[in-house]
């Protein structure tokens, strides 16, 4: 299994690690049982994602996708934030080994969970945003 240079860069020098104390939305997905947990914090002002931070327990790909997903979402409107899909994260990282694709799904889910939290708190609807799956890895296990 070989990671791309971009994945290694985002693993070795992850962007946006940390927490946002007064986050507008927080989303956590995955579980420790499967070895991946991602927690994403978003700071949203005037409908624009001003800042994004993450904390991740997981493998190299999990850290790199968290880093890339938070990079991609910054500066986007909450609506455009939905374009940060697992596919987009994976492409931005020059691909992932097949066994690691589920990590990119987790990044998308974490981001969406944070957006959902924001939408709920502010009583708004983001078109196309679905409620977060309680346990993403369980779903992948069931597949």
């Amino acid at each position: 299994m070989e990671y791309s240079e971009k994945v290694m860069d985002h693993f070795m020098n992850p962007r946006n690690v940390g927490e946002i104390a007064d986050a507008s939305g927080v989303g956590q997905v995955g579980n420790a049982k499967c070895g991946d947990i991602m927690k994403v914090y978003l700071k949203i002002e005037n409908g624009i994602v001003q800042d994004a931070k993450f904390k991740t327990f997981g493998c190299g790909a999990a850290v790199a996708t968290s880093s890339m997903a938070t990079e991609l979402v910054k500066g986007k409107s909450v609506q455009d934030a939905l374009t940060v899909t697992n596919k987009a994260v994976m492409e931005a990282l020059d691909g992932l080994p097949p066994a690691k694709v589920h990590c990119s799904c987790l990044a998308e889910e974490a981001l969406h969970a944070a957006l959902w939290d924001y939408a709920e708190k502010n009583h708004i609807v983001i078109d196309g945003l679905k409620p977060p799956v309680e346990d993403v890895d369980e779903r992948h296990h069931a597949e």
Partner: protein, 394 residues
């Protein structure tokens, strides 16, 4: 990053220079087929039998009880399938353990599909089987007990002599996967009542692709590979003379140097284990504290994941391994760490470092210096650590 510190000797070892020197002439000078009768073939035949003697004496067997194979996995397959088939009339029950190498476990699963009943013995928190449970599992149908000599992940050494005694008492054959043990801990198949034993060359400084199985005289097994009359018709195929010569030489050297190597490795291992446990909070030793392979250190760090740890170690030029799901190619962490009762999240954060004769105290010191910061770096990124620290304060 180029590997500067190789701490993954349970995965494989470099070929020892003395071994390499011994085997090189068998590629260009003495390349004859040992089954032929002309001049150069005679040297192949002589080398083959010399190596057989070297391997035999490393485990207290007779030369005619050693059969060369392509490695530990083949030997394991051969032992289980060969015995199950040859003794099918006597019964079709095999006893093994939950912590065996996949070469045993997957062969056992295959046999189950073909009507063989298999008991997988549990292990305690240190990875040892219970002799009482073993004895209770034996029934009139039981034809084979297969318990590994020492575990490849956590290094725990099983009570092999006692298992041998129980097997003998009940008239059941006893196989042991000794791939991690041969050349590393004393083995005597006579004293330990071992009927079949698997070994591998590349775990003790011989090349990859060579192994052997010891089959006690009088024990029948059906072959896995049919063809020529090599290895007394138990294993067809032109003998890998260079590999065989290498295995013989490596086994001879390992046994001759065992006392000295064990002393050195035990010191390094214990320094490494103690240093980590004392300096890194939320860490635990996996495996038995004293009944363990001299070079094995296996530690779990809570709240972090093993692959990330390996990548950061690799960036410092350190090669090690982990039982995390991400390194096992599945979503589940190592079956061995599960069997000793680790919660999933602790199993995911395991780090195995396996030392051998070429490792030094400077390397151990380097790890002890660098590891705390690496673990902390990952913990600072982990939402689980954040929660744990919060809970500890409360």
């Amino acid at each position: 990053m180029d590997t500067k510190i190789y701490f993954d000797n349970a995965a494989t070892t470099p070929v020892r220079p003395e071994v390499l020197d011994t085997i090189l002439p068998y590629f260009r000078e003495y390349y004859g087929n040992a089954s032929s009768i002309y001049g150069i073939a005679k040297e192949s035949k002589r080398a083959l039998e010399n190596a057989r003697g070297q391997v035999a004496s490393a485990i207290g067997a007779k030369p005619e009880e050693i059969y060369f194979t392509a490695g530990g996995s083949e030997s394991d397959n051969m032992a289980l399938r060969g015995v199950a088939e040859a003794y099918a009339k006597k019964g079709s029950h095999i006893i093994t353990t939950k912590i065996e190498h996949h070469a045993i476990l997957h062969t056992a699963e295959y046999l189950e599909k073909h009507g063989v009943k298999v008991t997988y013995l549990p292990v305690d928190e240190f990875g040892k089987i219970s002799l009482e449970e073993l004895e209770n599992a034996i029934c009139p149908e039981t034809v084979l007990i297969s318990v590994m000599f020492a575990n490849n992940e956590i290094g725990t050494i099983e009570p092999v002599a006692e298992i041998g005694r129980i097997a003998r008492k009940h008239g059941v054959l006893f196989h042991t996967d000794a791939v991690q043990a041969v050349g590393h801990v004393p083995i005597n198949v006579e004293e330990m009542n071992i009927d079949l034993l698997s070994m591998s060359g590349h775990k003790l400084g011989a090349p990859k692709g060579i192994g052997a199985i010891y089959i006690r005289k009088g024990v029948n097994i059906e072959p896995l590979i049919f063809g020529g009359a090599q290895e007394k018709r138990k294993r067809a195929g032109t003998e890998n003379i260079a590999g065989i010569v290498g295995l013989g030489r490596a086994a001879e050297l390992a046994v001759a140097e065992m006392e000295e190597t064990t002393k050195k490795l035990t010191y390094l291992r214990d320094k490494l284990i103690r240093g980590i446990l004392e300096n890194i909070p939320y860490s635990r030793l996996n495996g038995h504290p004293s009944d363990r392979l001299p070079g094995n250190c296996n530690i779990s760090f809570s709240y972090i994941e093993g692959e990330s740890l390996l990548l950061l170690l690799d960036s410092l030029g350190v090669a090690a391994s982990s039982g995390s799901a991400c390194t096992s190619g599945s979503l589940d962490p190592s079956h061995v760490l599960m069997a000793i009762g680790l919660p999933h999240e602790t199993a995911h954060g395991s780090l195995r470092m396996t030392l051998d004769r070429e490792n030094t105290e400077e390397e151990v010191d380097f790890i002890l210096e660098k590891l705390p910061a690496i673990v902390q770096r990952l913990r600072d990124m982990s939402p689980l650590y954040e929660e744990a620290v919060k809970n500890d304060k409360e």
